[in-house]
Structures are given as structure tokens and as C-alpha cells.
């Protein structure tokens, strides 16, 4: 094993993005004989797959795949942002709201968390989609060109789903902020909104950050469902390759690698965020 420094490190971050110590730890983690053998084995399998499997379809579908990838990314990002904006009031209502707000919020979260996303997606797409054309007012409105497409329904379903799960997370996070912090804010004469903005929300976010990271990966894993309502995301492109060329494994494997990379990126981003805003005990 004298040539070991030449082994490529798929997991190594670019120098400069992380402090030096973790890099050295990572290096020591990889430099174990059994790991080097496993990495070599994995690279061997990868080269074998790259040379012997059928990849000739890639150039023909590259443009479509890029569009699909972009659509997956923005659906994920937009639904997470919008969903989280809904989740804050949902969590707040459950943690501290009056009963006439807390009960609907809890019901919403229970329903979203208790039924499959696929069912919600189909209810929204087929249900609303069949309902809207019956109203001339909607059909003649400015929004109709958008409402005839599938993506608004996909975005709505994904947003509501994320809001439901995150609302539950935020409920716990709001509750976990010690009462003394809020009392201190009140003693300073802060208004209720100022307390929320300056003390309550930031501390709740810090505590919820690791959970939100995990939930965002779960949300990413839910995005391919939108392909069932004719949104052409990266998954739909892979299905199309399968239907056009009858090549089964290659597109699916490539797709799995793409999702693995997105998941890795999300995990890295959230780890950096957690380091930037550590959960102060």
C-alpha cells in the first residue's frame, strides 16, 4: 500500500470550505486498509458499470435531463421555503395559540401526516383539476393558463405536505424554548412581535435545525411523485428513457446517483448551517 496517497477521495470536501482539523480526521478515517480495499472495489464496480453497461442514450436525453433536474431542484426549494413559512404560524398556533387556532392547526398536521403524499397529490390534481373548469370565472381569469398546467398542483401538494410535517417540528421547537427567555424579553418591555422575532423564533430555529435538515432530505425523496401528475422532473425523464429505449437499469442507477448527490449536498449545507448557528444548550 505504498501508492495509497493517489486513491481519489469521493467524499473529501474542497480545501478551504471546512477548517483543517476535520479534513485531517477524514483523511485518517479513509486511510484504513479495509476502507482502501472497499473504495478500490467500489471504483472497480463503477468502472465496470461505466464501460460495459449501455450509456449511449445519455447525449440524446442530456438536455431533457438537465431541464428535469432543474425542475426537481426548484420544486424542492420553493416548496420548502413556502412550506416553512406556513409551518411557523402552524407551530406557533399549536404551541401557544388560543384553542380556536390550535385545534385547526393540529388537525391539519394530523391529516397531512396521517395520509400518503401520493393520495394528497392526486386529490389536489385530479380533484381540483376537475373542479376548476366548471367555473367560468376561473376559466376566464388571468391565472387559467397556469392552472391548466400540472406544476402548480404539484407545488401546492408538496408545500402543504412540508408545512404539515414542519408545523409539528416547530411546535416542539417553540415549546422547548425556556420560559425565562421570553420573560426576560417581556421584562425589557419588548412587544410580543419583537419577542417572537428576536428571541422566540431564532432559538426555536436553532433547536429545530437538525430535524429540519432530515425533513428536507425526506422532502427531496418525495419529489419524484410529481411525475405521476405529468410534471417532467428528473425522475420522469428517466422513466421516459426506459419507455423509449427499453433500457431499465442504467437510467435508474444514474437517477439514484443524482438523488444521492442532492442528498449529500443538502446534508452538507445543513451541517454548515448547524456549525454557523450551534444549538446553544
Amino acid at each position: 500500500m505504498t501508492t495509497s496517497p493517489n486513491v481519489p477521495q469521493p467524499n473529501a470536501p474542497r480545501p478551504g470550505t471546512l477548517p483543517r482539523a476535520p479534513l485531517r480526521v477524514l483523511w485518517r478515517e479513509i486511510m484504513q486498509p479495509h476502507r482502501l480495499v472497499l473504495i478500490a472495489l467500489a471504483l472497480g464496480i463503477a468502472t465496470y458499470a461505466g464501460t460495459t453497461m449501455r450509456w449511449h442514450w445519455i447525449p440524446r436525453y442530456a438536455d431533457l435531463a438537465l431541464q428535469g433536474f432543474w425542475r426537481t431542484i426548484w420544486l424542492l426549494a420553493l416548496s420548502c421555503v413556502l412550506g416553512f413559512m406556513l409551518a411557523i404560524p402552524l407551530g406557533l398556533a399549536q404551541a401557544a395559540g388560543p384553542r380556536y387556532l390550535a385545534i385547526p392547526a393540529r388537525t391539519f398536521c394530523t391529516i397531512i401526516r396521517g395520509t400518503p403524499l401520493l393520495l394528497q397529490l392526486w386529490l389536489i390534481y385530479f380533484g381540483l383539476g376537475s373542479l376548476f373548469p366548471q367555473f367560468p370565472m376561473i376559466r376566464e381569469s388571468e391565472l387559467w393558463p397556469y392552472l391548466r398546467q400540472a406544476w402548480p398542483y404539484a407545488l401546492l401538494a408538496l408545500t402543504l405536505s412540508y408545512a404539515g410535517y414542519e408545523g409539528e417540528v416547530m411546535r416542539g421547537a417553540f415549546r422547548s424554548v425556556p420560559n425565562g427567555q421570553l420573560e426576560a424579553g417581556r421584562a425589557f418591555g419588548m412587544s410580543r412581535f419583537a419577542i417572537l422575532r428576536r428571541i422566540w423564533l431564532p432559538q426555536a430555529l436553532q433547536r429545530a435545525l437538525p430535524t429540519i435538515g432530515g425533513e428536507t432530505v425526506l422532502q427531496m425523496k418525495a419529489t419524484p411523485l410529481v411525475a405521476t401528475i405529468t410534471v417532467i422532473d428528473i425522475y420522469a425523464v428517466a422513466s421516459r428513457v426506459r419507455q423509449d429505449t427499453f433500457i431499465i437499469y442504467e437510467p435508474l442507477l444514474l437517477l439514484a446517483v443524482v438523488y444521492l448527490m442532492i442528498a449529500g449536498l443538502l446534508t452538507l449545507v445543513f451541517r454548515l448551517l448547524e456549525r454557523r448557528y450551534p444549538c446553544g444548550q
Partner: protein, 252 residues
């Protein structure tokens, strides 16, 4: 009997007719789908528990290679969408099985939907169960395990008598969550064309055009399943926690 209700809400008679259990209505199909979903969820949960137990024990006690391979398994399965895993395992599993059968000189077979669903979702559940059980086993007091060893218990007896009962209450919240994920993930099998609740619902809705009626009815069925199983898991947890000291109030 329900006539007074129908006069109050004119659309109701229609809805009841659509949802009735006998052939012009589609209620029977929905219930059959729900039963199939439950069977797959239970099977997948069982397979997942089995895989998870071995995975957790391998991660905690296995050699370096076992641990690394298990890490790859849990990372990949938890990062790749279930839908894609289902397709890969479904196609690859059928292919492999038929190749083995061909090598043995048998005829290729068509894999049954239930078996494939249980197998696929079981592998996915196994990855999550590995992590849940690993965390729970790690949280068991070391002294108890050492005491068991001091009594001369073998590893199996030790697991059966000490580790397992001690870790169960710690693992139950995570396992209950996994069961809920299993019931909801059965809906994904609709995309591979297996007629569980979601696909039955879509067929019923598509042929009657009463989308809201059927999707809401299916939602109610799923919600019933999840709420009831949440309650059952609550009871089981209370049962296994009955020896715990009462939580003291007022301490942070």
C-alpha cells in the same frame, strides 16, 4: 331510514351509492385495497425489524468491513427516493430470481405483487430500523449487560433476556414512526401497478369522475389506520414502560 338526511343534503344519496359495499358502489374495492395495504405494511414492517435487528447488531458488534457495508446500506437507502429503490429492486429482484430459476432448469415466474411489495418496502424499512434499534441498544445501561455477562449468559440469552427488553421502550417511539411510514409507503406500490388502496381509489375515481368523494374516503381510511395504530403503539409503550420511575415534573 336516511331519507331525512338526503333531503337536507341532496348530494349525499349519490355519495352513499358510490361508496356502498356492493358492486354498483366502490366501497368494497376500497376496503379490499385497504386490506392489501395493511398486509403489505405489516409484512414490510416485520422484514424491516428482522433486517434492522441484524443491522444494528452488525453495526455495534461487527468487524470493520461489516460496519462499513452496513453504513453504505443505510446511507444509500435513506438518501435515494423509495420510488426509485422500489423500481430498481422490483426489476432487479425479478430478473435475478428468474436467472436463478433458469440456471436451475425451472420456468421463469411472475413475481406476485404482495411478495414483491413486502420485499422491497422491507429492505427500505430495514435501513431505518437499523438506525432506530442501534440508537436504542446503545442507550441500554452498560452495567446491565456486564451483569448479564457476569452471570455467564451467552450472547443470545443476553440479548433475549437483557438487551432486548431493556431497549424496547427506547425503540418503540421510533418503531411506531416506522410503522406509520410503512402504511403510507404502500401507496408507492400503486405506481408499479399493484392494486392497494391508492390505486383502487384512483380507478374508482377515474371511472366515476367523483374524484373528491373517493380520494377523501381513502384519506379517511388511511387516517383511521394511522390513528388507531398510533393508539396501539401508545398502549404497547405504556405496557413496557410500566416499571419506569414516574417522570418528575419541574426539572429541566
Amino acid at each position: 331510514m336516511l331519507d331525512w338526511l338526503y333531503t337536507l343534503a341532496p348530494g349525499l344519496e349519490n355519495t352513499v351509492a358510490l361508496l356502498s359495499l356492493h358492486p354498483p358502489g366502490w366501497g368494497g374495492n376500497l376496503l379490499r385495497g385497504a386490506w392489501a395495504s395493511l398486509q403489505i405494511a405489516a409484512g414490510a414492517f416485520g422484514v424491516g425489524l428482522l433486517l434492522g435487528t441484524f443491522g444494528a447488531l452488525g453495526k455495534l458488534n461487527g468487524g470493520p468491513v461489516t460496519r462499513d457495508l452496513l453504513a453504505v446500506y443505510t446511507t444509500v437507502v435513506r438518501a435515494v427516493p423509495e420510488l426509485i429503490l422500489i423500481l430498481i429492486i422490483y426489476y432487479a429482484g425479478t430478473d435475478l430470481l428468474n436467472q436463478v430459476l433458469r440456471a436451475l432448469g425451472q420456468r421463469p415466474v411472475e413475481v406476485s405483487g404482495v411478495a414483491a411489495g413486502i420485499f422491497v418496502l422491507g429492505i427500505v424499512q430495514g435501513a431505518y430500523a437499523t438506525e432506530v434499534l442501534r440508537g436504542a441498544i446503545q442507550a441500554v445501561d452498560k452495567g446491565q449487560i456486564e451483569a448479564g455477562r457476569a452471570y455467564g449468559m451467552g450472547p443470545i440469552t443476553l440479548f433475549r433476556r437483557v438487551t432486548f427488553p431493556a431497549m424496547l421502550p427506547l425503540a418503540l417511539p421510533g418503531l411506531s414512526n416506522l410503522w406509520l411510514i410503512a402504511t403510507k409507503d404502500t401507496a408507492l406500490l400503486a405506481i408499479v401497478g399493484f392494486s392497494e388502496l391508492t390505486l383502487e381509489t384512483r380507478q374508482a375515481a377515474g371511472s366515476t369522475r367523483a374524484y373528491f368523494t373517493f380520494f377523501l374516503a381513502a384519506g379517511a381510511l388511511y387516517l383511521t389506520m394511522t390513528l388507531i395504530s398510533g393508539r396501539v403503539f401508545g398502549w404497547i409503550e405504556a405496557h413496557y414502560r410500566r416499571g419506569d420511575p414516574r417522570p418528575t415534573r419541574g426539572r429541566a
